[in-house]
């Protein structure tokens, strides 16, 4: 492996350049990106479909409600919950994709088996940090409650979903976005092992990579979130236009709620994962001189091979 011959040119870039670069990464590897994304997303998408199905029975919910007179409110409620749930689940569901892109920088096309075996080896740490502390799996708990009793109670739901869960995840992901990369690509343990004193534990490594750039990372997070939101809106409107032209139906139907809308949000999340990985590379280049390290190592390898 030649360390300075990488699949993505390692150099310092601006935020907009990273977003542009993510489009090239998507274009070049769309097949494998789709495969690894689908393998990770499928279980979560099925669970979401089953647990949030009762929330789409707008007319039934409207009849049971005394306070609300429009079914539109129930639809907005479903779409908000679905969006929030997917965005919270995304880092965990797309961990295979993160690992694949990370490996693809140096190794030619790792097999699906090797990708998922490596992710499986780090599953404990992933469940604890990303699944529970960052709520990717914990978000299933309130969904189960909603499944059991889908009646709309805004006094509980709005604070729980909007402010607590989504707000918490948005903030933590804004200031410390690289948890998945540290756990899966750098393979940092949760606790410093006694056998390897030079190995950094997850918390220390996370502090070292995020501390100096936290403000900038948060700004980038907000910028990327806005771009992702606008792109998702553009995709939704375009889908409706195309379906309207092809079928003559211009109204937002149930199939849109159940299939197309989650699909578009998941696609946005996949794109967000690629942008996050590129941002991770850029942060390491800026704070640690990563590209210099790779080139110095490669040059040292060449010199040692000559001698």
């Amino acid at each position: 492996m030649q360390l300075d011959r990488t699949a993505i040119t390692i150099s310092q870039r601006t935020g907009t350049e990273l977003v542009d670069l993510s489009l090239i990464v998507l274009r070049r590897n769309w097949g494998l990106i789709s495969l690894h994304s689908m393998l990770g997303i499928l279980p979560f998408a099925l669970i979401n479909f089953v647990l949030l199905w009762p929330l789409t029975q707008y007319d039934t919910l409207l009849m049971a409600s005394r306070d609300f007179a429009s079914s539109d409110l129930f639809q907005v409620r479903y779409l908000c919950i679905m969006t929030g749930v997917i965005l919270i689940e995304a880092p965990f569901a797309l961990s295979g994709l993160t690992y694949f892109i990370g490996q693809s920088v140096f190794i030619e096309r790792p097999s699906a088996r090797s990708v998922w075996m490596s992710v499986w080896q780090r599953m404990g740490a992933m469940i604890l940090i990303v699944g529970l502390l960052r709520l990717s799996m914990f978000v299933l708990v309130p969904m189960i409650f909603l499944f059991a009793d889908p009646v709309f109670r805004p006094e509980f739901e709005v604070p729980i979903y909007l402010f607590l869960m989504c707000g918490y995840v948005f903030l933590i992901r804004g200031f410390r976005p690289f948890a998945t990369e540290i756990l899966l690509l750098e393979r940092c343990p949760l606790v410093k092992p006694k056998s390897r004193p030079d190995q950094l534990a997850y918390s220390l490594r996370s502090s070292s990579i995020h501390r100096s750039l936290s403000g900038e990372l948060f700004g980038m997070h907000i910028g990327v979130s806005i771009v992702e939101f606008l792109t998702a809106v553009s995709l939704i409107m375009s889908s409706m236009f195309l379906i309207g032209v092809l079928t003559g139906t211009w109204r937002w139907g149930m199939w849109m709620d159940l299939f197309l809308f989650p699909l578009i949000v998941w696609c946005t999340a996949i794109w967000g994962t690629i942008i996050r990985f590129l941002l991770y590379m850029n942060s390491r280049i800026r704070t640690e001189g990563w590209e210099i390290e790779l080139r110095l190592k490669a040059e040292a390898q060449r010199m040692e091979a000559k001698s």
């Binding site: 300075d4 011959r5 990488t6 699949a7 993505i8 040119t9 150099s11 870039r13 601006t14 907009t16 350049e17 977003v19 542009d20 670069l21 489009l23 090239i24 990464v25 998507l26 274009r27 070049r28 590897n29 693809s104 920088v105 190794i107 030619e108 096309r109 771009v227 792109t231 553009s234 995709l235 409107m237 375009s238 409706m240 236009f241 195309l242 211009w250 640690e288 001189g289 590209e291 210099i292 390290e293 080139r295 110095l296 190592k297 040059e299 040292a300 060449r302 010199m303 040692e304 001698s307």
Partner: protein, 330 residues
Amino acid sequence: MNAQSAIDLTAVITTPENIQFEYRIAGPFRRLPALLLDFAIRVICFLVAFVLLLIVGLSIPFSGSIATMLFLIFWFAIDWFYGLVFESSWNGQTPGKYLTKIRVISIDGRPINGYQATVRNFLRLADFAPMVSLEMFFEDAPAVYMVPTFLVSLICMSITSRFQRLGDIAAGTMVVVNERAWVPNNVKLEDPRIASLSEHIPANFRMSSTLAKVIALYAERRTRIPTARRAELASHLARPLLKQFQFRDDTSPDLLLCALYYREFVTKDAFVDTRVQSLPSPLKREAPVPSSDDSPVQAPISNSLPPILNPSTTESTATANPIPLDRQVL
């Protein structure tokens, strides 16, 4: 991923004379601020024209319809010819592109001509497609398809290697970044030990082009990297170099790479320091033998140096170690 060339935002153009130019391509999100700025400028122009013509229409009798007509003509002209006029007469730039440092060029690297500017600007509307109706948002709204989704341009740019939208493909143009690429220049090396160390590098040592690039990159970036990390980085390459030059193992990796940079890129006249003469050699065979009460070895260019020195106290040591490594500022 490695099957093709490395993923990057550059386009290489080869002229008929077989000369290659490398351009940084501006993708859709690099171009977005320019689009928004140009849109804002056009809106301001509309508003100014509207207010002026309103004043004229109200103050002069029977001129209302003429003012409306003039406003519509102005609207049409600004909307359709703003980009065309600026790009064809201002080296492929509009005010928005100028402010965001991007410009339009032909795919063969030449400046765009009037025809190309016309085609790419007249196809702008196609890049906004599909346009959706206001009815989609408000049931009572008229069926006017005026909300752009930009999906066509986003898909086009994503699938073309030069981030070309429909208009660019038709006109044979692309948008590039108008900034100068990074050039490893003006690296200031103020530590006198660097020049001294460079004197001891074997005269027959020749750098490869890749090594020279890496050394230049390191010298340019090192001041922005923490000292400990700097030593860690430099040690990767310093280890085989120390062995090759037969230097002492405790020679500072950071200074060694700087010395290589100095030897390769800096002229001797650019660096004059009389203290250089007094520094002893880093070579293993000429290294001072440590006495039993000396700890650590007083090496001129080593990692294990005493803390920063007070010039008023130990004059002799200060001469030997003018600037401690862990506090050096180049």
